[in-house]
Symmetry: C2
Subunit: 250 residues, 2 copies
DNA sequence: GCGCGACACGAACAGCGTTCGTCGTACGAA
DNA sequence: TTCGTACGACGAACGCTGTTCGTGTCGCGC
């Protein structure tokens, strides 16, 4: 009864409560005396694997091998691969600092959070795919959400707009990183489906101008964007639409 | 030599040219006299499968079974599962109508395209995951991109902003549909990881108010959004940041 | 010293994408 | 008409995935 494996349907609400209760406990208590297999060790191995070879290489078997054991051993500490994914995303979110709200700098503060999350995602190529699926299910992600919400509310953004904008920002950051991790695959020459900018521009230029006049006329703009300029552009535009009315009324 | 299977590295530029050249040919010419296995029949079976059981069920084996054959037979007409995915995404994009640019209604016209694409994506649950990977590699997707670009340029949006906004809009629509297809899984009771709105609100309310003050104070806004209100909100905000200066200057 | 429970693990199952080699057939050449 | 050939279709298999069952083995409490 104690170890009863939940039917994957009724229990999660209880687990959620347990997670919340554990908030005040010793965070991530890892006894240094014990050498055996742990959730922490599993996560470390998983992170190392993703960092080195990308999210596609994150396999229960490979994690187990990295830990010097078989795949079955992992399932005593992690219910699923999906749960492992969620744990990784949670840890990534936990690493993102949330600044104290400063209403004068709310846009910049939002960008700081998104940038930090982006960099953390990009450090583990492809991991954002898991984030797209698991985003709102983690307490650590909720911590980020809470931080953003506080910043936006303090800046005077209406609650509904703030809530929806946070959702959109999360979604965009994840999708951006996912796409970036596809484009930016240095080693794996196996599946070079995505093109670098020059090849893309070349392809655009090959298009028939009568059918794609705007595209061929603006190849440069379509393929422009150094570093994370597009990232900044999109989030700035998104947040710009939220600008509250600071002056006359309240 | 004629049937030389490309090393997956050098040829795609030629294939791209071939696709462009085929633009003027008889579109999707499918001889009604021949009953054998065709790319068209493969795509039809694939669409039916995804529509009925979601993108996860889209398997080479299942497509082959639906066609009354073995999986190996498909590889004569489709190089990869990835190529099959791209074909499906292309077909989906091809179904989205692109309106004639009307500078007075540019925002609404952009929304029309995005809504049509969204509905097409949502008709095939989870297919947008493939879109996130394959977006800019298809001529049909480029047709949409061209249409949006023309609309934005005609409205006076600066080219660089237009190009980047189109990218962001594509990305958002795909990510939105991907997330929606996760939340909205009617039949499969196997993996009920994602919660409906009530359960989510309940979880939010269980949070400790001292740690998540803004979240618990605005549960209603965080879980609100009937239908596609969030979709409209985000795209409107994104496009709102592009509003050109129609008046004084040029 | 003994027993019991919890943890670890080897082996296996079902399914995936993909490839190899063979088979059948249908068409062009003689 | 008959043969040769070439090509589309396919059965079987490979290596991989996530996951589970039953067994083993270790260490702690009594």
């Amino acid at each position: 009864m104690a170890n009863r494996r939940a039917p994957d349907r009724a229990e999660p609400q209880d687990e959620w409560a347990a997670k919340i209760a554990a908030l005040d406990g010793p965070g991530r208590a890892e006894r240094p005396g014990k050498p055996p297999i742990t959730v922490g060790r599993i996560m470390d191995a998983a992170f190392a694997l993703v960092e080195a070879e990308g999210f596609e290489a994150l396999t229960m078997r490979r994690v187990a091998t990295a830990l010097g054991t078989g795949p079955a051993s992992l399932y005593a500490h992690v219910r699923n691969k999906a749960e492992l994914d969620e744990l990784l995303i949670g840890e990534v979110c936990a690493r993102v600092p949330v600044p104290e709200p400063d209403p004068a700098r709310w846009t910049e503060q939002m960008l700081e959070i998104c940038r930090a999350l982006r960099d953390e995602y990009l450090r583990y190529p492809g991991i954002s795919r898991a984030a797209l699926a698991a985003a709102p299910n983690s307490l650590d992600a909720l911590r980020l959400s809470e931080g953003m919400l506080t910043i936006l509310l303090a800046a005077g953004v209406p609650p509904r707009s703030a809530a929806w904008a946070i959702d959109a920002a999360f979604l965009y950051v994840s999708a951006y990183c996912f796409e970036a991790s596809l484009r930016y695959r240095p080693d794996s020459d196996a599946d070079q489906r995505v093109l670098d900018r020059d090849a893309l521009a070349e392809r655009y230029r090959m298009l028939p101008p009568d059918r794609f006049p705007s595209t061929v006329a603006h190849v440069r703009e379509l393929t422009s964007g150094e570093g994370h300029e597009r990232f900044e552009f999109t989030l700035t535009a998104l947040l710009g639409g939220l600008a509250p009315e600071p002056g006359p009324g309240a």
